[in-house]
């Protein structure tokens, strides 16, 4: 559904990434993971034709994006930006309705179906109560949810989400990931970048890991989110443990402290052994 082939981009003389290639299949929820400043957002912008890359190609739905007109791109791919605040106090429902723009036709344009789809998208995210509030006066997290609703209303085959959970509280982060999962199951291809290794390993079908030199690893989360790869990009900060059969990435110091704690407990006979669910991988 989405193929990125050997992409090169530089701002002026400074190269941002060189020779990036990966692909995402239809209906896959793919996480893009990498340290700050490694070019994730730039990569997104190249794929969306906001920026012109210098070499390589991006193929969406079987067609090279340089051949897509801007109107057709919008029917194919939706984008949720990281942070965005417009100067005018549009209401939330109006912002979500803007997601229907690529599908509007005719002079009067907006039909009953479009409005219904906009309201449905608000319901999917359970933010119907915000519908009549000015969008630019919401908190950053609420705005992110609204933009997510707009992307759902846009009803495209591909979605790009730039850190969709960065400003959200814990329960909303999980909610957004579950919604993305559900949307992907309906056949939408999603590429989302995130800074939380646990989120990408828990919710994504596939993970692409980037650092400043390009792609480090690519594949199923349990193959990609490993101590070796994390050491490669974060230099010995992370440890990967299994808690009750679920993989957890945690700071190495915390992981060691916890193991020590348990060993102290066991030494004093409070527990007979290290609990089975905490083990080193």
């Amino acid at each position: 559904m989405l193929q990125v082939n050997d992409l090169y981009f530089n701002y002026g003389k400074k190269p941002v990434f060189e020779g990036v290639s990966f692909d995402v299949d239809e209906g896959e929820l793919c996480g893009l993971f990498g340290p700050n400043g490694c070019g994730k957002t730039t990569l997104f912008k190249c794929c969306l034709k906001f920026l012109k890359f210098h070499r390589g190609s991006v193929v969406m739905n079987g067609i090279d994006i340089t051949d897509h007109r801007i109107e057709n791109m919008a029917k194919l791919v939706a984008y949720v930006p990281q942070e965005h605040k417009p100067p005018f106090p549009y209401l939330v429902k109006e912002v979500v309705l803007m997601g229907r723009t690529p599908h509007l036709r005719g002079v009067f344009g907006i039909s009953r179906k479009d409005k219904e789809q906009a309201l449905n998208a608000l319901e999917v995210l359970e933010i119907g109560h915000l519908a009549d509030q000015p969008y630019n006066q919401l908190s950053g997290g609420q705005r992110q949810m609204v933009l997510m609703a707009r992307a759902i209303a846009q009803d495209t085959k591909i979605m790009f989400l730039d850190e969709p959970t960065s400003a959200l509280d814990f329960s909303n982060q999980i909610r957004i990931w579950e919604i993305m999962h559900r949307v992907a199951e309906e056949g939408v291809t999603i590429l989302a970048c995130s800074h939380d290794p646990n989120h990408v390993s828990w919710f994504c079908n596939k993970v692409v890991v980037m650092n400043r030199n390009g792609i480090v690893a690519e594949g199923a989360p349990h193959h990609v989110i490993t101590e070796q790869v994390l050491d490669d990009i974060y230099e010995g900060v992370c440890a990967v443990r299994s808690v009750g059969g679920t993989r957890m990435v945690m700071p190495r110091k915390v992981a060691e402290r916890e193991v020590d704690g348990i060993s102290i407990e066991s030494r004093f006979g409070m527990r007979n052994s290290v609990p089975a669910e905490v083990e080193l991988i």
Partner: protein, 360 residues
């Protein structure tokens, strides 16, 4: 009740569909009332003037001219000339200019994503002022003040646009700076013209700069109104696209609206009507800045409603200001002075009471 049902079925046949949560009837209602307000204001303005003519006579003359079987021989020639040749074209021109400035103000504010932008931001007014002063000082070289003002107004904006364009893109900040630069260059040129002109030409330039409808005639109305009305409808139809543009370039791209293409179209049309208005009546301040604010206050930021509301408020406001300009004293006051004196406190009030909601 039956009336209500009938009204709804007509609306639905026109393609208007109701849906819970998106009621636009209130907004449509406000638009209709604004149109009514403008028409009533115009009707009152016809009957006002330094020369006292009874209300009955005024409307007899107006109706006589409007109906095909009308006969104006019953009223005096003088009254007929005052009402039909002076007051009515003047009011129509005031409406036209108000519509032009307020509409392009709304469009500029949307395109530039900034509620403090006015139609003169790209240098139309300074360019037109230079054109007009050239026409005034050198009447032998320039056919008419109006044509010369129009040409230089448009040239100024085109220059600003070209200056700002780099690699197929026109970033807003660069465009505004280019407008400021071009504007100041043309202001300097106007100063040169003032410096070298003789007393009577200087007086004329100063009057032109303050704006006014003194010379309004049917010829002006016939020339300017059709273009302004047509442009207004085109801009109105692009209202939804303008909403998308006002979210930012990348947002617009994501939603399938090419920012370069639509900004160019919108700015060109808005510049055309601003330039036409300025070249006909001189520089009238505040209307283009204030009316879109007032419209947003009434109807929210959706440009499908802001554009028509601003246009009608602009028309109404200029009728009021011009009527004051020609009736307050026996001599005429330039209308630009009145729009500013009435406008400044209003904007101050907005800033203090609703500042956060409007200015973000």
């Amino acid at each position: 009740m039956a009336e209500e049902l009938k009204r709804l079925s007509i609306l639905e046949r026109l393609g208007y569909e109701r849906i819970e949560g998106f009621s636009e009837e209130r907004k449509v209602g406000i638009l209709v009332s604004l149109l009514a307000l403008m028409i009533v204001t115009a009707a009152i303005a016809i009957s006002r003037g330094v020369y006292e003519i009874s209300v009955v006579d005024v409307y007899t003359i107006t109706l006589a001219h409007l109906s095909p079987l009308g006969d104006t021989s019953a009223v005096s020639r003088l009254y007929d000339t005052i009402v039909w040749e002076l007051r009515i074209p003047r009011i129509l021109l005031a409406i036209t200019v108000g519509v032009a400035l307020a509409t392009s103000g709304a469009v500029f504010q949307g395109c530039f994503r900034n509620p403090l932008v006015e139609p003169y931001i790209l240098g139309v007014s300074s360019g037109a002022a230079f054109g007009a002063s050239l026409g005034i000082v050198y009447p032998q070289f320039f056919l008419s003040i109006q044509v010369s003002a129009f040409i230089f107004g448009s040239v100024a904006v085109a220059l600003a646009y070209l200056l700002a364009r780099t690699r197929d893109e026109t970033p807003i900040v660069t465009l505004i700076l280019a407008g400021v630069i071009i504007g100041s260059v043309f202001s300097a040129l106007v100063s040169i013209m003032k410096y070298i002109s003789n007393d009577s030409a200087l007086r004329e330039i100063v009057f032109w700069l303050m704006g006014g409808f003194y010379y309004a005639s049917w010829k002006d109305v016939a020339l300017v109104s059709p273009i302004v009305v047509a442009s207004f409808f085109v801009l109105w139809l692009l209202g939804w696209k303008l909403n998308i543009l006002s979210m930012g370039d990348e947002e617009a791209r994501t939603l399938g609206v090419s920012p370069e293409k639509y900004k160019f179209v919108l700015i060109s049309i808005a510049t055309l009507i601003t330039s036409l208005a300025v070249s006909t009546v001189g520089i009238i301040a505040w209307v283009g800045l204030m009316m879109p604010h007032a419209a947003r206050l009434l109807l929210g930021p959706d440009h499908r409603f802001v554009i028509p509301a601003a246009a009608m408020l602009g028309g109404t406001y200029l009728i009021v200001c011009d009527t004051l300009a020609r009736t307050l004293t026996s001599a005429e006051i330039p209308v630009g002075i009145i729009t500013s004196i009435l406008g400044a406190p209003y904007l101050f009030y907005l800033l203090r009471t609703r500042g956060r909601a409007i200015f973000g």
